[in-house]
């Protein structure tokens, strides 16, 4: 729950404003991007996701750093990814 997970924005959802499809660890997930809209979020941007909401835009290098940190967390990160995989945010 405390883990911020990086994801790459694939598309902004036209029909549901404030939502985006994001690539997180190879899976496509729906994420709420309303809290970073003022930063002008675009496809190709990397974002830091907390419990289904993007809280910050980050660059790709920071995303890779964060991913490697998370992978070292082991089970806690696997649990979080599993929870995210089962999430059906709409």
């Amino acid at each position: 729950m405390c883990l911020g997970i990086p994801g790459e924005v694939l598309t902004l959802d036209v029909e549901r404003p404030g939502m985006a499809t994001v690539n997180v660890g190879g899976a496509r997930r729906q994420v709420n991007v309303m809290l970073i809209e003022e930063d002008g979020v675009q496809p190709g941007d990397w974002v830091l996701i907390h419990v289904g909401f993007a809280l910050a835009k980050i660059d790709e290098e920071e995303a890779q750093l964060t991913l490697s940190y998370l992978e070292e967390m082991g089970q806690a990160y696997r649990d979080e990814l599993q929870a995210l995989a089962e999430s059906r945010i709409d």
């Binding site: 809290l35 970073i36 809280l55 890779q64 089962e86």
Partner: protein
Amino acid sequence: MGPEGMRFVDEYRDREKAQALAANIATLVEPGRRYGLMEICGGHTHTIYKHGIEDYLPEEVQLVHGPGCPVCVIPMGRVDDAIWIAEQEGVIMTSFGDLLRVPGARGSFLDAKARGADIQMVYSPLDSLRIARSNPDRRVVFMAIGFETTTPSTAMTVLRAAAEGLENFSVFCNHVTIIPALEAILASPDLHIDGFIGPGHVSTVIGCEPYRFIAEKHGRPFVVAGFEPLDILQAIQMLLLQLRDGRSEVENQYTRVVPWEGNQRALQAIDEVMEPRPTFEWRGLGWIPDSAMRIREKYARFDAERVFDVPATRVADPPACQCGEVLRGTIKPWECKVFGTACTPETPIGTCMVSSEGACAAYYNFGRFTRLRVRQAGSA
């Protein structure tokens, strides 16, 4: 991850760079003076143990592990209240997975689930909202927990529920705020803290400005830090430089992610939906004024404490458990009487052993690298 990404990661793990930083840190330390530096965030605690950061530091520098693990600080009474709500007629209780094993006086969510309560694990409060929509004849409650990294998400979810006119969704709000907890720690007489390693992701939301009182009123340097081993070593170097020069300022080592002003949109969402509680109990730290959030009157129908007649249970922490002293940093995890014997990650007595970011679990999992163990091995 591509080779470019790996190279960048390697830079932040580079042993030579770490040793160069360590050598510089050693020059900043006055021999014989003790420097107590508190890392607030459980994520930092995890990195410190995982990478044996203490092994790079001179004896004079003591890292103290702070209260920044939200699972670790939730009092047993709130867990009992949540279980009471879960056991009411027609309720579906939804919770982050981290919380399922946290013990209250009447067991954990998992125990209540085994007794027949409908408790479902969710990744996001938005999942709870979906469950509410698809179960109109049930009352769906979201067990909200966390510091300012998760509070905006709860607030945004309440706003969404209000916009949709949902009538069967409410939040049992346990969100806590880091600043009053730091004030309580600074007021603690048995504690010697010279500076703070500030939380990375919480600061993404609240920014760096709220920490100014720690620097200005309490005269303690404060450096917001990232989660890589070199980030933490660099933050320690920045703290020691301030202490050597007699300065106390707020600095941001983690500019890669943390904007000085935080995320205004997230703060506005919190302020729209929530207000500070007069007081809130923290496990191990006791009652701290203005240290948690509750739902505003305007959104009362989404507030589980108003929707249900919650018993407001108060339970003393288990006597064998020394989580409070660990959270205040007055003892190290391994100095607790039940550490690693009666209390383990599999059968936790205290919350610090439940969460992977709790100081006890982090030490239990990676403790072989710590300075104490190295010394013991050397003298054996």
